[in-house]
Symmetry: C2
C-alpha cells in the first residue's frame, strides 16, 4: 500500500472517529439534533478542526450516507456471488435491499432526504457525485445479473429493455421501503409481512416477463432460505435481534 506519514495516519484516524461519533449522534438525535458543536464536543476537538475534515454539516452527513451505501454495495456484491441461476441472484439482490433498508433505516431515510431538491442545494457537487457513483455501482451489479440471464437465454425480453425491467424492480423495492419506513400503519391495513408481499410481487413480475426458471418450476422458498442462511445469516440475526429490544 501507499506509505503514509504518521500525520496522515493520525488525520485519517480522526476522520474515522468523527464519522463514528457522528453516526451515533445522528442515530440518537436525528438530522436536526446533530450539530457541529455537538460533534466537536463529543470527539473532544474544536469545531475548527472538524471543519478541516468536512466543509459543512451536510458533508459529514453525506459521508455517513456514503458509508452506509458502501455497505449496501457490498451486500449486493455478496448477492451476485450466490451460486445458482441468475434469477436466484436477483432474488438475493432483493433480499439484500430489504435487509439493508431495515438495518440502516435512518441512513436510508437520510439518503432519501439528500436526494430532495431542497437539501441538494446545500451539498457540494462533488459529494453528490461521490454518492451517485456508489449508487451506480449498486445498479451495475443488477445490470450484470440481467445481462447474464439474457446471455444464457433464461431471459428473453421482447418489448422492453433490460434497463426498463430494472427500473420497475428498483421502483417497487425502493417504494416499498420508503412506505414501510414512514410508519404507515401497514399492519392495521392487514399487511403483516410487507417484505414477503413485495417479494411475491417481484416474483410475479419476473414470471410475467418469462425469466426462467419460472416460479412454478422451481422451489424459490428453498432459494430464499439458502440466501438467508448462506449469504446474510449475520445481517439477518442483527435485524431480528435489533427488532426485539426496540
Amino acid at each position: 500500500m501507499t506509505q503514509l506519514t504518521r500525520k496522515q495516519r493520525d488525520f485519517q484516524a480522526r476522520e474515522s472517529l468523527i464519522l463514528d461519533v457522528s453516526a451515533e449522534l445522528f442515530e440518537q438525535f436525528g438530522y436536526f439534533g446533530l450539530s457541529m458543536d455537538r460533534i466537536a464536543q463529543a470527539v473532544e476537538y474544536s469545531k475548527g478542526t472538524i471543519y478541516q475534515h468536512f466543509q459543512s454539516k451536510e458533508e459529514v452527513l453525506c459521508a455517513l450516507c456514503a458509508r452506509s451505501m458502501r455497505v449496501q454495495q457490498q451486500m449486493f456484491q455478496k448477492a451476485t456471488q450466490f451460486v445458482g441461476h441468475p434469477r436466484e441472484k436477483m432474488c438475493a439482490i432483493l433480499v439484500a435491499h430489504q435487509l439493508y433498508t431495515h438495518l440502516y433505516a435512518r441512513e436510508f431515510n437520510h439518503v432519501q432526504m439528500i436526494k430532495t431538491a431542497s437539501i441538494r442545494q446545500k451539498i457540494p457537487e462533488s459529494s453528490q457525485q461521490a454518492l451517485a457513483e456508489i449508487e451506480d455501482q449498486c445498479l451495475q451489479r443488477i445490470v450484470n445479473i440481467v445481462a447474464e440471464a439474457i446471455e444464457c437465454q433464461d431471459l428473453v425480453l421482447e418489448d422492453m429493455t433490460p434497463q426498463e425491467l430494472i427500473f420497475g424492480l428498483w421502483s417497487i423495492a425502493q417504494g416499498s421501503s420508503v412506505i414501510m419506513l414512514s410508519d404507515t400503519p401497514l399492519e392495521e391495513m392487514g399487511i403483516e409481512q410487507p417484505d414477503l408481499v413485495i417479494r411475491a410481487h417481484c416474483m410475479r413480475l419476473l414470471d410475467v416477463y418469462g425469466w426462467q426458471p419460472l416460479s412454478h418450476q422451481w422451489d424459490y422458498e428453498q432459494t430464499y432460505h439458502r440466501i438467508e442462511t448462506e449469504l446474510f445469516i449475520e445481517e439477518l440475526s442483527r435485524f431480528t435481534s435489533g427488532d426485539q429490544h426496540d
Copy 2:
C-alpha cells in the same frame, strides 16, 4: 354554511394569504430558504402575527403539504369517476398519481421529507394526523376500485388480499416517482419515458393477477387517451407547458 364574523373571515383570508406566499417562497427557495421572517416580510405582517396562525415553520410546511395532498385526493376522486371498467379506473389513478408528482414535485418531495423520522420529531402529532387522514382518503379511493372489481368478478384474488395488491401498486408508483424526482439520470440509462415504462409494469402486474379485461383483450391505449383527454386535459397541459419554460 356557517355564518362567520367579519373577523373570522379576515383571519381565514390572511391564513390563505400566508399559505399562498409561503408556497411561492418554498417553490423559489426550497425548505431552507423559507424562513418565518421572510414570510412575515412578504405578507407585510409581523412574525408574531404569523405565529398566531401556525405554531412553527414546520406547521406552515405541513399546511402546504396538506394543500397539495388535497389536490391529489381530488385528482383521485376524478379518476374514480371515469366511466369504464374498474381496471380502467385503476389506470386513471395511476395517471393521476404521475401527473400529481410532476405538477407538485416540490411538495411531493417535501411530503417525503416530512415522513422521515428526523423531521417528524419537529412536527406536532396533530399535523401528522391531518396528513395521514388525507393520505388515507386517497388510499380509500383505490380500495374502493379494487372492491368494485372483485364485486363484479373482474378480479378474483387467490393467494393475495386486496390490500396486498394495492401495496404493490402503491410501492411501484411511489418508488418510481421518488427515483424520477431525485434527478437520477434515467435518460442516460436509456429510459426515455419513465412514466410509460411504469405504466407498462403496472399493466403486466394487473394482467398476471388476472384483472379483467386483460391487456391483450382491450385497447388500453385508447383508455389512457380517454383518461388524458376526458379527465386531466387541463393538468396535462399545465405539465407540458411547465416543462417548456423550465
